[in-house]
Symmetry: C2
Subunit: 515 residues, 2 copies
Amino acid sequence: MKKLIKIKKAIISLSDKSNLKIILTNLKKFNIKIISSGGTYKEIKKLGFKCEEISNYTGFKEMLDGRVKTLHPKIHAGLLSIRNNKKHIKELKNNNFEEIDLVIVNFYPFEKSINETKNFKKIIEKIDIGGPTMVRAAAKNFNSVTVISSPNQYEDLINELKLNKGSTSINFRYKSALHSFNEIAYYDSVISNFLNHSSNLSFPEKKTFHGKLSEKLRYGENPHQIASFYKGSEFNSLKQLHGKKLSYNNYNDIFSSLEVLSTFQKNLGTVIVKHANPCGVSSEKKSIISFSHAFNCDPISAFGGIVCCNYKIDFNLAKKINQNFFEIIIAKGFEKRALKILKNKKNLRIIDSSNYKYKAIFNPVFHRDSFLLQNIDSFKIIEKDLKFVSKIKPNKYQIQNLIFALNVCRYVKSNAIVLVKNKSTIGIGSGQPNRLDSCNIAINKAKQFVPNELYNSVAASDAFFPFTDGIEKLVQSGVKAIIQPSGSIRDKEIIKFANDTNTILVFSKTRHFKH
Amino acid sequence: MKKLIKIKKAIISLSDKSNLKIILTNLKKFNIKIISSGGTYKEIKKLGFKCEEISNYTGFKEMLDGRVKTLHPKIHAGLLSIRNNKKHIKELKNNNFEEIDLVIVNFYPFEKSINETKNFKKIIEKIDIGGPTMVRAAAKNFNSVTVISSPNQYEDLINELKLNKGSTSINFRYKSALHSFNEIAYYDSVISNFLNHSSNLSFPEKKTFHGKLSEKLRYGENPHQIASFYKGSEFNSLKQLHGKKLSYNNYNDIFSSLEVLSTFQKNLGTVIVKHANPCGVSSEKKSIISFSHAFNCDPISAFGGIVCCNYKIDFNLAKKINQNFFEIIIAKGFEKRALKILKNKKNLRIIDSSNYKYKAIFNPVFHRDSFLLQNIDSFKIIEKDLKFVSKIKPNKYQIQNLIFALNVCRYVKSNAIVLVKNKSTIGIGSGQPNRLDSCNIAINKAKQFVPNELYNSVAASDAFFPFTDGIEKLVQSGVKAIIQPSGSIRDKEIIKFANDTNTILVFSKTRHFKH
C-alpha cells in the first residue's frame, strides 16, 4: 500500500534558497500550485515561475515586519485536516479553505547567527516561529502531507514525484516527517542551549544535547558494534592532512590526548595515548627531547598509539617519529619536509591542530537514558594552591615537576600514580581499584624502561594515600618528592613517614579522579 | 531597570490543569482578562471565573476537532508585536487586534502517551502544534510577554505579580522564556527520538538527547567540580531504601555494575565494583558463596566498593556483608531481617533493583560538543559462536567458565585479562596500555589473595594476544584454558604454543574493548 497522495498545492518559505530553481521546475511539471511570501516569493517570481502571495491566499495582510504571515487558519487547516474525515472536509469547504499537500520550508539560520554575531537582540530575532509551526503541522499530518525541511531532500522529492507522477507515497511522507522532527528538535536544542549558556544556567530542569552526523564509522569500539561520529564546532577545527579514515577508538583516543594538551603551556608538550590513557607525557622544551622522553616512558605501549604534539613538527622530529609505528600524529602544524616524510607512511593519520581551541564546557556521561552532567576538571594547578607539609621543602624545579606530575595524573584513569623526572613521565600506573597496585605498576614501568631516572624523581597521586604503604614503595624506589591531595585520617602518619625518610611531601587541595 | 510590563490579557491553554484555581484567583486580583478554549475554557468556567472563548475573541470558529484554534493572526500578532514599535502598534490597531501579555500553556502529554499506549496513531495525535507555537512566540518576545509553560512556575508567577502589583519584570520574563525554550527543546527531542526509535533509525543526520534534572549533586567526580544527575526511565525503577544520598561516583559505579549484571542469568551473579571497574564477580549458584568468591577475588579493592546482587539478599548474607565496609548494596529485594541488619549501618546506601529492567539502547560518548554514538556491547556470548582451536578441547564446565570469564572481561577497562575458577573471578587485570601488563596484574592479584585457585583456572582476554608472552605467563601460573578473540598475525604461533603446553585455546569471534 503506497497510499499515494497527489500534490496539488505547495507552500514554500525558505531562508536557504539554494537549488530553488530545480525544485520549481519539477513542481511545474506536475502542475503544482505554489504559495509563498516575502523573499522567497520575490525569488520565485524572479526565476520566472508562477506563485501566489500568502497574503493574497489568506486574504490577510502580512504584518509586524513579517512576524505574522503564515500563522493563519487557512494555512494551518490546509495542513492539518484529515483528508478522509468527512467533518474536516466539510469544515474546510465551509471556510473556503483548501488542502495544502506540500510544505517546503527551512528555518531562519539561528545557529549561523550565533557564530556570526554577539548581538543578543539580533540572535533572538533569528528564532523562527512560523517556519517550525508549518513544519510541525505538516509532519504531524504525514498521512496526507509531504514536508521538506532542508535542501538536501530536494533530490529525493523530485525522484519521488517522478516515480509516482506527481504523488508521494506514505513511506516517503513518513520518512520526510521523521527528518523534519529531527530538524526541529535540533533547532530548538540549539536555541535552548544558547540561552542556557548565555545565562550561565548549567543545570536546567530539562536539558537537551544535539549533534550533526559527521560520518558513519566502519564500526564502533569493537567490530560487532555499529557507530557514528557527530562532530561539534570544536572538533571541526582539526584538519586531517593524510591517511586512513579515523576509527571509533581513534576518535576516543584523540579526545583523551586533546584533554591533556589543553592544559599545557603554548608550544610545549607531547603526549602519547593508548587505550584512552596517556602512556607517556613530556613538556621538555626541545621538541625532539620532549617526544623522546614521552616515548621512552613506555615504548611497548606506545606501539600503535597516538602522538599528540603541542608544537610544530620539524624535519628531524618527523624522521624520529617515522622510526616507530603510530596510528595518528597530531601537531600544531608541520614543516613542509616533515609532512612529506611522514606521508611516506600510507596509513598514518596526520592531523593539524593549529586552529584547535579547547573549550572547557560541561560534559555529560550517559548511561542509557540517564546522564551525569559536570564541568570538566580543567583548572590550572598553580604553586600558590599547594601546601608544603614536609620538613624538607621542594625547590623551584621540583615544584614545576610536581605540578606537571599532578596535571598528567588527572588525565590517567583512577587510581592513578604518575612518576616524573625532568618534566617527563617515567612511569604511569593507571586504572587500578587500589592505590598500592597503581604505585607498583608505575614503579615497575620505570624499572623496566628508564631505571636510571627513578633516583630523585617525583610522584603524583590523583587521590590521597589511605596508608603509608604506597608512599613507602615510592620512596624505596628512589622517589624524592610526592604530591597528593591529602584528606586521609592517616595524613599525620604519612607526613611523619615523609619526614623520617627525608621525602618532600606536598598537599594539593584538589582530588583528581577520572573514570 | 526592571522594565515592568502590566499584564492585562492572558491566554490559557492547559493539558495539565492542576493548580488552575490558585492561578485564576491571582489573575483576578489584578484584573487580568482571560481567553481560553476547549477543556481549559470549560474548567475555568466551572471554577467560577470569567473567561472569553478564543473563537469569540478571534471571530474564527475552532475547527478540525480542535486542531486549529489558536493558530490565528489575532493571537500571534498579540503575542509577537514589539510594544514600543509605532508601526506594530498601528498595525494591531488597524486590524482591531490587542496585545496579549501572558501565556500560560502546557503541551499535550506526548511523553506520557508513549508510556501508556503502543498505538502509534494515538501517540502521533498527542503531538501538540498550537501550544508550542504560542509558547515559542511569547518566549521570543520576552521583552514584553510573559510565558509560563509548566505548573511548577505558578508560584513564581504569583509572587512576581504580587511584588510588582500586576506587572512582571524583564528578569522574570527572560527567565520564564529560557525555561520555556528548555521545555520546547525537551518536548521536540522526545518526539524526535520516539520516531527514530520506532523507525530503527540509529544515526539520524541531526540527533538530540534529553533529560530531566533529578538532583543537583553535592559535587562531581571531584569536590571542585559541580554536577547534576538527570534520571531516565530505566534508572527510575531503582529504589533507594536507606542511607545517604548517592554521589557522582556512586552513580557512575552503579552504571558499571548494572551493565555487568544485565548479562547474567536470572537470580545469579554478584559483582563488586570499585572505580567503575569490577574487582570481583561470581555467578556461583549459592548466594553466600557467590558473594564470598566475588569478595575474595580482591578484598582490599572491595573495601568501600559497591556490591550488586542479581538476587534477593537473605539474613545470612546480610550478616556476612555487614562484616565489611561497602558504600552501596544493590539487590533484587531483601529479606525483612536482612534489610533490618543492613540498615544498622547508617550511611550504607541500600538500593532495591527488583523492578529494574535493562534496555540495550545506543550510548553516546561526549567530548564537549562532539560525540560518538554506538550500540552497547551487550549480546549474549554463546557456545556455538566459539571456535575450539587447540588439540585439547574444553569440557562443558570449562566452556561455561570461559564464557563467564569473557563476559566479565568486556566490562573491565581495556586492556583486560580476567582469571576465573568456579564461575568466579580470581584475578582481574584492568586498564593497561599493553596486554602483558594486564596479564601480570591479574596473576599477581590471584597469587596475593587466592593462590590455590590458580591451578586449572581459565582466562579471558578482551582482545587478541599479539605475542605468546602473555599466554606464556598465564600458563606458567597454572591457567589451563584461555579464551580470546583471535586476529593476530601470530595466531598460529599461539595455537602451537597452546598445544605444546597442553593448554586449551578457544577463539571467540568478537573483540570486547571498553574504554
